[in-house]
């Protein structure tokens, strides 16, 4: 086994921060994705522009650049807003908050395309039937559309989740004490870069393997009662 020179506990702590960041960004991303998909399918043209612009723009930008812009741009933007209200102190945005916002923003852009596709994939007759039964638009969305969107979008969301998990490493560059940062710290102390980066790689591999196993289980569960296509 690899000798970690007593840095095992720190690596574990870093892994936990990585997981926290992943979950926080996931939640934000899912919300932004649903909002984006709603905007894309909206009857109002400016909303459609906004939704399309959001995903087109973000999907063309490097994730790393988005993380950097959020981290360095957020405090300036917040201070500009705060100064309007007479607050002139320096506002420091934590790396965790900026990282969550940036990764959630990216996840949302991809998820909005996915959700849009899934919503369209649901036969129109179902929504019409719900209407005919007297359900409101909101009820139709929550009871008929959303549960099915979940099933259709799940494989795609799974891929996005794995990408998100690996993208959390980018936030280490702006100083969040997650797995990569802790590893770099251990490297600085022990002068054994290969050992520690390999250890980090193994931890990421374990995380992504667990995630992919869990996602397969979830997909099976979400598709209960759906006939599988003959392959």
């Amino acid at each position: 086994m690899i000798d970690l020179h007593g840095f095992g506990a720190q690596l574990l702590a870093g892994t936990i921060v990585t997981l926290q960041l992943t979950l926080a960004a996931l939640i934000l991303g899912l919300i932004l994705g649903l909002l984006g998909a709603t905007a894309k399918l909206s009857q109002t043209t400016p909303f459609r522009w906004l939704g399309d612009g959001y995903s087109t723009l973000v999907r063309g930008l490097p994730e790393f650049l988005v993380v950097l812009s959020f981290y360095f741009g957020a405090s300036q933007a917040l201070m500009a807003v705060a100064s309007k209200f007479g607050y002139r102190e320096y506002i420091d945005v934590s790396a965790f908050a900026a990282g969550t916002a940036a990764l959630g923003f990216i996840f949302g852009a991809y998820a909005s395309e996915l959700f849009r596709g899934s919503i369209i994939a649901i036969p129109k007759g179902q929504a019409e039937a719900a209407r005919a039964l007297g359900m409101s638009t909101r009820q139709t969305f929550l009871r008929i559309t959303l549960p099915q969107v979940w099933r259709i979008a799940l494989p795609g969301l799974g891929n996005l989740f794995m990408i998100l998990m690996k993208d959390t490493a980018l936030v280490s560059v702006v100083g969040l004490e997650e797995l990569m940062r802790v590893t770099a710290f251990a490297v600085g102390r022990t002068k054994e870069p290969f050992t520690f980066y390999l250890a980090a790689a193994v931890i990421y591999l374990i995380l992504t393997s667990i995630a992919s196993y869990g996602l397969r289980r979830l997909e099976k569960r979400a598709s209960l009662g759906i006939r599988e296509l003959a392959s």
Binding site: P62, L170, E192, Y204
Partner: protein, 233 residues
């Protein structure tokens, strides 16, 4: 918005764009060359042959690119044997470390793309090739691979775009690509909005050009998919 600051950084970012494009095309080409034999091994019926590309893909798709980059750039220097070998001048150079890591990384993804494409080639075509007496290497050379490349082209284009975006990580090992340039410019002018938005615009333009390039290639390679001529009589 500070217009003058943006004008000042344009030449620097353009210089960075050159490095970004170099890295992307180099790694996309080397990655493809590595991926072809791996994809062929991956579809092999012999489990001992398909195991190796499987493990390779598992590692490169399951870990962040940043870890892979640091493993090559910082990690390899840990070993005396590497530091005293002939390849050390190459491995000490951030540019080559980035090029090597990106190539290996994208090769993992392209292997999976090609595997999917090879498996999509209709069985009938392979049976037909066998029926007229082609041997396996002939089938690969003149039926399977040409077909697979055409099938894989859109996915390869996507991978090219993903690689373009991933190449921003080169700036973490001191390289001055678009992102690297943006970071140095920001360190001097402290204008995050102007700097990063301009850098983002560079990426968007490159993405736009690349997508259209791929689309053009796709059309070129699929003359059979041209719109049929409609004769109104």
């Amino acid at each position: 918005m500070n217009g003058q600051a943006i004008l000042d950084m344009l030449p620097l970012l353009a210089e960075g764009a050159l490095l970004t494009l170099q890295l992307v095309f180099l790694s996309a080409f080397v990655g493809l060359c590595l991926a072809v034999p791996m994809a062929i091994a991956r579809v092999s019926k012999n489990p001992w042959v398909s195991l190796w590309p499987r493990l390779y893909v598992f590692f490169f798709r399951g870990t962040p690119l940043l870890v892979q980059l640091f493993l090559v750039y910082y990690g390899l220097g840990q070993f005396e044997a590497v530091r005293e070998s002939l390849v050390w001048p190459v491995l000490r150079d951030a540019y080559w470390c980035a090029a090597i890591t990106f190539s290996l990384h994208t090769a993992g993804y392209i292997t999976e793309i090609l595997r999917g494409a090879i498996q999509t080639v209709p069985t009938g075509e392979i049976e037909a090739a066998r029926a007229i007496g082609m041997n396996p290497s002939q089938i690969y050379k003149s039926i399977l691979l040409p077909r697979a490349f055409r099938i894989a082209l859109p996915a390869y284009g996507n991978e090219l775009i993903l690689m373009l975006k991933a190449s921003a990580l080169a700036s973490t090992i001191t390289l001055l690509d678009i992102t690297g340039m943006a970071r140095t410019v920001y360190a001097k002018n402290y204008l995050p909005v102007e700097t990063f938005v301009t850098a983002g615009a560079f990426y968007l333009v490159i993405t736009y050009v690349l997508t259209h390039l791929i689309r053009f290639l796709e059309k070129h390679l699929h003359p059979d998919r041209k719109e049929p001529v409609v004769i109104i009589g």
